[in-house]
Symmetry: C2
Subunit: 320 residues, 2 copies
């Protein structure tokens, strides 16, 4: 079988991770990276994103690695008009609208889109739906972390006197345990998570900065907050990675018997795992297109074997 020819659109953290991980796929090759920038620090072929249409006939699937805030809503339909696409659009409340737009464009062009892959939305969505389907009436809770929160880290860095700062969101252990027992009820995000901050600042500013953090509305008020001041060398050595992860916990009762389904991710590098999921769904999109399927699909609608480079017969013999 000919390898799947993949293109990357956008070259931020996610695009770079996709580039690295496509090289590890047994059945995929990178056609090139499409970017708004002229110069990228890469040995892969680079093309202006404005020229995508001229290249589309050589691309089986485009992995959209641009931002969810404005790029995906504005541009994704233009790509699926040319070839199959996969994206990591992560605005949960807007997935249905995005899917509808992509569906219309894909059907008109005879292509395929798989939308909102990654891990949340993505693998977490899949696990929420599967576990709830198996245990109707179950309690279900999603916990995020331990993981770096970009938005909260930015908020810390806006405080006067903060030189460097990160914020990790960490599930509360007692909340995890009560969710596993099916006793967490209507747990709020504030009850379920601890916000742990590491801050570099002059010692004379520590008390004021901690006070500003603890009283910052929306971001920190009402949460369990831990503030740790550390020196710059420790910060640079220990807090420049992008770890993340979390848990989807579903606990259902079958007449006095508790059943807990838990899906856990522990990710050393968030964009690498997001890219890994996007690549697996890119494979599925290319295959669906080859099967003559057109339209847009969420991860809920894609048969799992389509994600694997291993043939179905081998999967059944080895993994079922």
């Amino acid at each position: 079988m000919a390898p799947i020819r993949a293109a990357i659109v956008g070259y931020g953290n996610l695009g770079k991770s996709v580039e690295k991980l496509i090289a590890a796929q047994p059945d995929m090759e990178l056609y090139g990276i499409f970017s708004r920038r002229d110069q990228l620090d890469t040995d892969s072929p680079v093309y202006p994103v404005a020229d995508f249409a001229q290249h589309a006939e050589h691309v089986d699937v485009a992995l959209l690695c641009t931002g969810s805030a404005t790029d995906i809503p504005a541009q994704a339909a233009d790509f699926v008009a040319r070839t199959a696409t996969v994206d990591t659009y992560d605005n949960h409340r807007d997935v249905a609208r995005h899917k509808a737009v992509m569906d219309a464009a894909a059907k008109q062009a005879g292509t395929v889109a798989i939308v909102s892959t990654g891990w949340d939305p993505g693998m977490f969505s899949l696990n929420r739906v599967l576990a709830a389907a198996i245990l109707p009436g179950a309690q279900q809770h999603t916990f995020w972390g331990p993981g770096l929160s970009q938005g909260h880290s930015d908020a810390l860095r806006r405080i006067d006197g903060v030189k460097k700062a990160v914020q990790y969101t960490i599930p509360d252990e007692a909340a995890l345990e009560s969710a596993r027992r099916g006793e967490a009820g209507e747990l709020t995000g504030k009850q379920a998570h601890v916000r742990r901050c590491y801050v570099v600042a002059d010692e004379s500013d520590h008390a004021r900065i901690e006070e500003e953090i603890r009283t910052m509305p929306d971001y920190f008020v009402g949460y369990q907050v831990e503030v740790n001041f550390i020196d710059e060398a420790t910060f640079d050595a220990e807090h420049t990675g992008m770890p993340h992860g979390g848990h989807v916990i579903t606990a259902g009762d079958t007449g006095g018997f508790n059943h807990t389904v838990e899906y856990t991710l522990e990710l050393d590098r968030n964009p690498d795992f997001t890219a890994a999921v996007e690549i697996a769904y890119a494979r599925a999109a290319a295959r669906l297109r080859e099967q003559g399927v057109t339209g847009a699909f969420t991860v809920l609608e894609v048969a799992p074997y389509l994600l694997s480079p291993t043939p179905l017969d081998e999967l059944i013999a080895r993994d079922v």
Copy 2:
């Protein structure tokens, strides 16, 4: 929409769990139980299994709850010749052959079979395939337990002087941790699991019984074995349930970064959870048949949304 009319074939532990849990489904009703026995202790309609063909037109899907050792291989194809079926056939090495037999019968009859549902095979298979597809080259380990092992409990009860006994298989904590770090390598089942025994016997027999357990080939030799002698009242109070569960742990490296995907089940009552999964796939089978699909499928080939009683649009709005 008309409810899905389900039939149960076989009334052992699994069939009883299916009966109980069908009552909790918003979109399903029980047509009846088909059994070889004349009298069953139930208020549901009971019919002779030999008469199934006369009832098949009223049944959208038959949940086969008979044994994997001989019943499923001998009889499953006769049922799918009449209506859609779902089974929990658990002979891992024989799933491909079973699927082929069911596929031929289903295609000839214009029906659908979903084979080897449950949790292992079933949900564990699905998670093995998904996690390995996302992280090619990853290390993957399946751990079983803490859970009651029927075969090992039977082996204990065959020892002279044993009045009552159960054996729980328990994942070794150190093995779990090394699997999560991607450092477990070619871990064997013996290294990964502890066999914990609870035995009721006269005190004068304890030393001999423990020796016989520890030296029993295949079942216990080479394993970490714990033998606990307890009194009969404690046994009856604490060791007559059917707990089970386990972990599928996949750890993959993306150039110096570890990513761990873990799927965990903690089940108070093994047949209830197996039944819950079988029912969700029964829903999928009935829907596939309604869509005009024919043939046999494993869990790897079924789009996840088909398992849920909630419409796809609602799932996308709520869970993605």
